[in-house]
Symmetry: none
Subunit: 223 residues, 4 copies
Amino acid sequence: MQGASESARPAPVGRPRNSQIDEAVLCATIEVLEETGYHRFALEQVARRAGTTKPTIYRRWPTRQHLVLAALAGRLGQLPVPDTSCTICDLAECLSVFAAAFQRLPPDVLGSLLSDCADNPDLRAEFMNSLFDPPRRAVEQTLLRAIRRGDLRSDLDLDLTLDQLGSLVHYRALFRHAQTTDAEIERAVENMLCGIATDYPALVEHNRRLSAEAQAHAHHIDG
Amino acid sequence: MQGASESARPAPVGRPRNSQIDEAVLCATIEVLEETGYHRFALEQVARRAGTTKPTIYRRWPTRQHLVLAALAGRLGQLPVPDTSCTICDLAECLSVFAAAFQRLPPDVLGSLLSDCADNPDLRAEFMNSLFDPPRRAVEQTLLRAIRRGDLRSDLDLDLTLDQLGSLVHYRALFRHAQTTDAEIERAVENMLCGIATDYPALVEHNRRLSAEAQAHAHHIDG
Amino acid sequence: MQGASESARPAPVGRPRNSQIDEAVLCATIEVLEETGYHRFALEQVARRAGTTKPTIYRRWPTRQHLVLAALAGRLGQLPVPDTSCTICDLAECLSVFAAAFQRLPPDVLGSLLSDCADNPDLRAEFMNSLFDPPRRAVEQTLLRAIRRGDLRSDLDLDLTLDQLGSLVHYRALFRHAQTTDAEIERAVENMLCGIATDYPALVEHNRRLSAEAQAHAHHIDG
Amino acid sequence: MQGASESARPAPVGRPRNSQIDEAVLCATIEVLEETGYHRFALEQVARRAGTTKPTIYRRWPTRQHLVLAALAGRLGQLPVPDTSCTICDLAECLSVFAAAFQRLPPDVLGSLLSDCADNPDLRAEFMNSLFDPPRRAVEQTLLRAIRRGDLRSDLDLDLTLDQLGSLVHYRALFRHAQTTDAEIERAVENMLCGIATDYPALVEHNRRLSAEAQAHAHHIDG
DNA sequence: CGATAAGCGAGACGGTACGTCAAGTCTTATA
DNA sequence: TATAAGACTTGACGTACCGTCTCGCTTATCG
């Protein structure tokens, strides 16, 4: 029963929108973005390529940023979040899927777009919601499940850990300074889970002793 | 005899440049950047504020990007790399210094600038060299020292680890999604050094068993 | 059947141009020209004064020269060519009308504009067609009628005669070294029609004799 | 009595000017003018070609216009004014010499230069004095001699007649719409001396009659 | 079925900033 | 003190997109 729609949409009077245009424009947006980059990205080009015109585009997306955001979000789609009982696999899988998706993005887009959203809070929220959060949320859920399962320390700082894992997705997509293969992702997960120190307690002890000495030294000077 | 000319800089003939202008322009660049953001950043404004004109600016920096890069790099300056015998302190100190420096940068600049440098390899190299690499190199040296000292696993993947630590600097400067306090940096270093798993070997074992099962299952289906 | 549209103008698709802008710009052009002269003539001033912007002007006239040309040509308008049976009146009338029109032009425009058109043949042709030829053609037709009527010598060199009369229009407009009143025009026409010599045949005879002598002298020397 | 100052040149103290520079600059000016035309004429080009710099040029000629004027005037030099007892030869000779000289000038210079001088009276005077007057003065003297000799009508309007002859020099140099050969000059002189009408008195009579009729007609209407 | 309302292609419009060019002036070091 | 070199201020250039507007036309739904 669509009774729900009784109060719902504002009665579609007039000529209905041609939804093929939406698709054509989003598609053209991606193409132009890939060919010219975000700078030199001209809406007029998008319009021409999509076989339409600027006003028709502006009727659908209020700003260039909204358009690009929509196009990119569409491309990311609804990526699946794995849920096995294996913490290691789940993490690796999450990261792998998203890293692949982001590496397919045109290289200079993420940064520019983010900046262009900087002074409009709503837009920024939309950016975070559609491009930043999805991989983070997927990893977050995996981590929470692992904590509940007792696989991870319960006093975990989630945000922090998400950054340290997420850097493989966004950070590398932005700076493109290194490849992100599956092997690398596995190593990263390992790093994260078991640490990189050979003997952490020893390091802590050493650190504690130094601090004490430093303090004593300071006292000495003060006194 | 002007044997002095042996190192022979190109002989400063003609009216010398007024170095006060360099300073004034760099300074004005930062100001305008902070007030208007990178988009809306107009060279004419910079010129006016520095009490000079566009051609004079273009004589010094070939493009807007070069100018901004120079201004930001100048602001980062030569940050100190600590070197005590304590791996934990050194890492925390490095990250703290750089995180503070980057958090002082105008919010939307890093991303836009990066993108604007995308299609000019030289410019991009300069960006990486003056804004991306410094903190990474500092951390890298600290890590290498720690490996030599035997504090860290010798098979460490440096790039990967640098990302997982560097995310606190660049990644957060870019997305501004979370605070980066000293306490947080300490926690991050701890995460990195000792890992977040409660019992890593057990996780590995579990993972191995699942993989074996999956393979068996696959066989079963195939056969 | 669209047979009607066969002669049809190219179908005015898109938003039509605002013809008030054309007028305002042409008008502003004349004003700025008169106030600042052709040098110091700034398109930005014209735009501001016409209440519009540079791009809008460039959409209509491809170069500054085209614009100025159009403005001046418009001001000359379609000047009438008199046709009575009286050669004297017709000539005087022609010249008078055009001299008056050109004397109203801003003083430094004609020369500069002409020079600016020098290296673009099309532009130069347009200059000649709209500012140089009209008075000449008017006078030319008057002369041709007079020849047909038998009032003028049939072996007349038209171009030459046009220059000798036209100097009152263009030449004086350019150099502004002398007034051109109606009285003066009448005197000029008289000069042209009946000559300035008291006894032309005598002058010719004298000239012939001298030439002969000179030749003889030369012979004498040679021999 | 300024007798004292008669020897008194300004005391040649300091490094003397290198007069070769003057020549080189004037020469380079002509060359650049011929190659690029007056528009696109850049002082920096002149300086480079003359092996010197802008300030050195500005020390000698206060403006670009002064420089160009000097260069052109130098090229015209002191042209000779013929003086035989033959009015026809003298006129033709004068015009021929000057027409040749002006036709050698770069094509777009005269007009632009004239315009650029428009708003500076001194400069304009200098222009008139060095480029406009010389041929006119030569012709003027020839005409005056001819009047004294009784060859020309004594009530001659000199300015007017000078324009009608001078058009062959300046007017054609400006508009370049027609060749000026010696044959043409002879024809022009003939035109001027004996007129182009077949029967001038008849034309005058006709004109007088028409005027009378017109007046009568007007009376008729008025009354 | 014809009025109404929106969608649409086309392109004009007012803006803003761009990066470039040349003018004419100045400030050095050198001759 | 003139010169060579080149930095400097000034101001206009012509171009490129922006995001909005105004047309004439098409395509729906509603009265």
